[in-house]
Amino acid sequence: MINHHPKFELIKSFVNGDLPASLSAGIAIHADMCAVCQQTISQLTEQVAEHSFEEVYLDRFIVDNESLETVAAIDFNHMINDIVESSDIDIALPAVEKTVSFNDKQYTIPAVLSSMKLGKSSHIGKLTRSRILLNENEIHSSLLHIQPGGGIPEHTHKGFELTVLLDGSFHDESGEYVKGDFIMLDGSHQHNPVSTNGCLCFTVANDALHFTQGINKLLNPIGSFIY
């Protein structure tokens, strides 16, 4: 059962369209699997929509005339004529299922990610990572596959690290995580996830990992590889 959900603040930013594509995708993937968050999102969207179109409407009666004039400066009639001149209809395309395979296992890619380009995959030990090419500067998104028995050495983050479990499970010091879980960690967390039976994750991080223990410190140059 899904146990880890995005915080309400994050859902709010998601509904407002204020999050980067990577995090928005993470929440959408989770919501596709989580009826609870899905309902929160649709209720909130309804409220925000109502509020947006109501409040501004109210403004028109309270706000001074000057700003009303600026609104009128744009030629709405021209815009209307321009739009209705087109006979184009935009129909929704059939959802095409996309798959990706890691170590001979096929996975269906979440619909949310279907238009996003995947980079080449690279391997280290039991980890395989494919970058999702979103062009978000310091924010990196990936599909991360862990083979059974694989894990990530204990590490911290300077920024945040989001993991959405697409398939399989893993555990760390805080417990077990299952398909659909939305796990957001920040620099104050330190963990060592291990996947006994293998898993596929969607990950987003805005900084390299920082390995914290013993010999694993030698791994720090490849910390940016994983997330």
């Binding site: 369209g17 594509a21 929509a49 087109s86 129909i91």
Partner: protein, 205 residues
């Protein structure tokens, strides 16, 4: 007797009450657009939403031209997608908000130099999956006569629709084949299908 301030407050409140959004009316207009491309209904809908969208867009885009573009693109999407609105799934305001938020998101992404990939409709779908309807198109497309309709489309839309339906290339393959961003392939495909739908509708009437 009330003070000035109080009466102002009262009037603001009563404005709020009497200006409560008339949801059935909005649905009716959207429906009229979907059913009969009703320009009058669109004008009403435009007059209701456009000034509000403009205000909201100005908060997100300092550049006036960009704010205007949000209004233009949002309302143009409302015109082209009205039939995708399903009043059983939610209010018209929610649907138009989604369209507006998606336009804004894609535009911000474009401006910030990320990519022109129009991801928003994947993140926040404007319509339920329409796979049944598309199946209908497959059948129609088997009909050779339809080729003439396809050939009347603009070249750019012809390329994608022929590749997708007749040569059965995936959208990704098409993007590579035509050297276009995936988002462009998708939007051309949608437009082309929309046109076919109109043409087919007219022919079958």
């Amino acid at each position: 007797m009330q003070t000035n301030l109080l009466s102002k407050e009262t009037s603001a409140k009563s404005t709020n009450m009497s200006d409560k959004i008339n949801h059935p009316q909005l649905c009716q207009w959207l429906d009229a657009i979907a059913q009969s491309r009703d320009k009058q209904a669109f004008t009403h809908l435009f007059n209701f939403f456009a000034p509000k969208i403009l205000r909201i867009a100005r908060g997100k885009f300092p550049n006036e031209a960009q704010a205007n573009e949000v209004v233009q693109d949002t309302m143009s999407n409302v015109w082209r997608k009205a039939h995708l609105f399903n009043k059983d799934k939610g209010a018209a305001t929610t649907w138009v908000y989604t369209v507006m938020r998606n336009v804004t998101f894609d535009m911000l992404r474009k401006i910030q130099g990320n990519k022109e990939d129009n991801l928003s409709d994947d993140i926040w779908p404007v319509a339920e999956s329409m796979s049944c309807e598309s199946k209908g198109f497959d059948d129609h497309l088997a009909d050779k006569k339809l080729l003439s309709v396809i050939e009347a489309l603009p070249q750019a839309q012809q390329d994608v629709i022929k590749g997708f339906y007749l040569r059965e290339m995936s959208q990704e393959q098409l993007a590579i084949h035509l050297n276009l961003p995936l988002g462009t392939v998708k939007s051309r495909l949608r437009l082309a299908l929309g046109k076919l739908k109109v043409q087919l509708g007219e022919k079958h009437d």
